[in-house]
Structure formats: C-alpha cells, structure tokens
Symmetry: C2
Subunit: 219 residues, 2 copies
C-alpha cells in the first residue's frame, strides 16, 4: 500500500501549482506517484461530449472504462462518496506515494499550503494530523515549516517521514509496472551484477542514479 | 462477477449507436450495466486541459483519480495493455452486465453488428465465440440473427443466455450500490413483506416492476 499525504489549503492558495512542482521531484527520486483530487461540489468535467464513452454513460452505463495499450480510464456513478482508504486500496495498489489534493476532513496526514494574503493562520491543526506547513509567512506551530519555493526541502521531509528512505544504494525492480519484492541479499546480488556489467561501459562514470527500461515484446 | 459480452464490428458500422439503445433497455430491466471501450490506437482523449487532474498527470503522476459525492474517475498510465479479465475483476465488481465495445480479439462471447453497405460477411466466426449477429442482411450462420432495430429481441437473448433470468418474481437488494446476496427463502420473506405493505396503498394495481429507493442519510 502506498504512503498517503493530503495537500490541503484554502481555495486558490496554490495547491495544484505546488503539486505540479512536487510530483516531478518525487518521480525524479524514483517513486511512482498517484494523485486523488477532491471535488466536494460534483463540478468536475471529464470525458468529451459525443465520444463513445460519453455516449455509453449518457445511455445509462454505471461504470465506463476505456482501455488502450498505454492508458486506462474509468468513470463511475456512485451512490455514496468513496472514502480515501477504499479508493487507495482499490485503485492505487502499484503506487509508492499518493497525494490527495483536498480531503481536508479525511484521516490522512496533511501538509497545508498557506499564503498571507489569504489568511492569518492555517485551516488545520495538529489535531487534524497537520504535520507541516508550506507558507510565505511565519506560523507559530511546533511542526516543520517550508517556504513555498522549497520543493526539495518538502521532498526530503516526505522521504524521511513517509518513505523510509533506505540509506545507501537500493534497487527497485518492476515487472509490467508491478514492484517485485526482493530480500536484501537478492537486491545486493542483482545490483552488483548489473552495476558490474555497466561499469565496463564507455561513458559510465559513477552515476548517482541508474534507470533501466527493458521492452521484451514488441506489440 | 458480471456477465461480459463484446459488441464487435467494422469501424463505423454503428457499435456505439447500438449500445446507446441496448444499455437503457438492460438498465430498464433492472441490471446494472458497465461498458469498456477499446481504443487500439491510443487516440482517446479524456480530461480537459488545464484542469487540476490534467495538471497532476502532466506533472508525472502515474495514476490520477477524482472523487466527488456522486462520481469517481480514474486515469492511469500503463506499461502493458490490461486484459479484459483484469479490468473486469478490478473495476467492475458491482455490475451485473458489462458490454465491451471492441476487444474483437478478446476471449469473450461476441455479438457482431453487420451492415450490407460495409461487408458481405461477418468479421468474426463461431471460432471467435461469435454467438449472434445484428444485421440488415441475411447471414448464413447457425447462430441467432437480429434486425438492427430489434433491441428487445437482443435484450431477451442476452437475459436468457447470460443472466439466467429467474422465472417468476425476484428481488434484488442493493446497499450503497452493493448487491446483498439473499437465499431464496429470505428473498421470498422480504418480498412478501414489502409487497404486502404496498398492496394496501391506494393506486397500487398489480405492477410488473417495483423499484424502491431509500435515502437514510442526508449529506
């Protein structure tokens, strides 16, 4: 199950803008990131009028999916709002880290974005599981506080607090997108073998990160 | 697990138009219908540029969901196309019946839509699990054939062949959208109790179908 962190804050405070910087920073560090956007007012628009999937929904299909070689999409009509634990267990089994945008009243750990032109104090408190603030003014709470531009600082904090960043080298192996669990000695063996081979390649000069992607079947 | 039936046929033969008529007919009969559209060429457009969920995806999130009180949507980047059995087991647990549009090379039973201005024979054969054709010309195959406008006939065929339509009265009870399994004697007991109450209401005159929707909590 992925680590889950809710990014909360007042409307227009810049939650999406902040996530647009944080998501690529976490991806760059090798984590598979998912997001869940909360739309309290049922305003969201998805799909495009006139498309086949749109026509299926209009005709009364409860659940409509679209499958293609590189993407998958799903739209469901529901009777009762899904809670975060259900959404994550059902739909995010392969992610390492899931950010929610919103879900202020959910039960997940929260980072609040604050801006002085919108507020004098955060919306949430430690009682709501607020664990850090990202802000352009000083907030008198006993939790970490980051400047709005300090994406690296927030990413470090998330790694340390939620992702149990392992010290030293590590390898993550995914088969068809699914992480393959490996014991420490297997990891060391595989990593040693791969790096041993690569180290003899011309141009291989002590990289900090190695990403290998192998396609075995051409569709 | 729902019954699954693939609606196949040449491009532009009218698969979506046919489903636009068949879905409401099956819904009217009390079935919860889902659909899966196959897009072999990765052309599908979903989401709208500039929306928060779109921005999350652009930033590199692998899976993006949107939750609201009455709808749920999900978009995933995948490494390898999902097969129908995986899609159905993961995403359609609560449907009674799932139609796929396309998935001609899938392993599900198929109904092919045929039109004489596009072809002289069907694309699929009984070896592909073709079980019926819907067509505007006569097709010399030993399987049922329906006229393009005979939606009721196709719906009857699907009910008899796939949905094990029970003879006589039946009750389906859903709690928060999830079907509650009931043994026959419980069904009879509940149905008898409800119909007993309703039968004393003014205006109750031997209906063929009774649908009751109860909302217990006001959000």
């Amino acid at each position: 199950m992925p680590a889950v962190l809710s990014i909360v804050g007042r409307s227009k405070v810049g939650k999406t803008t902040f996530l647009e910087k944080l998501i690529p920073e976490m991806s760059r560090r090798g984590y598979r990131v998912g997001t869940i956007k909360h739309d309290a007012h049922d305003h969201f628009e998805i799909d495009h009028e006139g498309k086949d999937s749109w026509r299926h929904r209009e005709a009364g299909a409860q659940t409509v999916a679209i499958g293609s070689p590189s993407r998958f999409a799903l739209m469901k009509k529901i009777e009762k709002e899904l809670d975060l634990d259900t959404i994550i267990a059902t739909y995010f089994p392969d992610e390492d880290l899931v950010f929610t945008e919103g879900y202020k009243s959910g039960n997940k750990a929260k980072i609040e974005i604050c801006r002085k032109d919108l507020q004098s104090e955060p919306l949430c408190s430690q009682a709501d599981r607020l664990i850090a603030v990202v802000s352009d003014f000083s907030i008198p709470l006993e939790i970490p506080s980051f400047d709005l531009e300090n994406i690296v600082g927030v990413a470090d904090f998330i790694e340390e607090r939620f992702l149990g960043r392992e010290k030293g080298p590590n390898i993550v192996l995914r088969l068809d997108g699914k992480k393959l669990p490996m014991k420490s000695f297997v990891k060391e063996f595989v990593m040693g073998g791969i790096l041993g081979m690569l180290s003899s390649l011309r141009g291989y000069e002590n990289p900090a990160q190695v990403d290998i992607s192998i396609r075995l079947k051409k569709d």
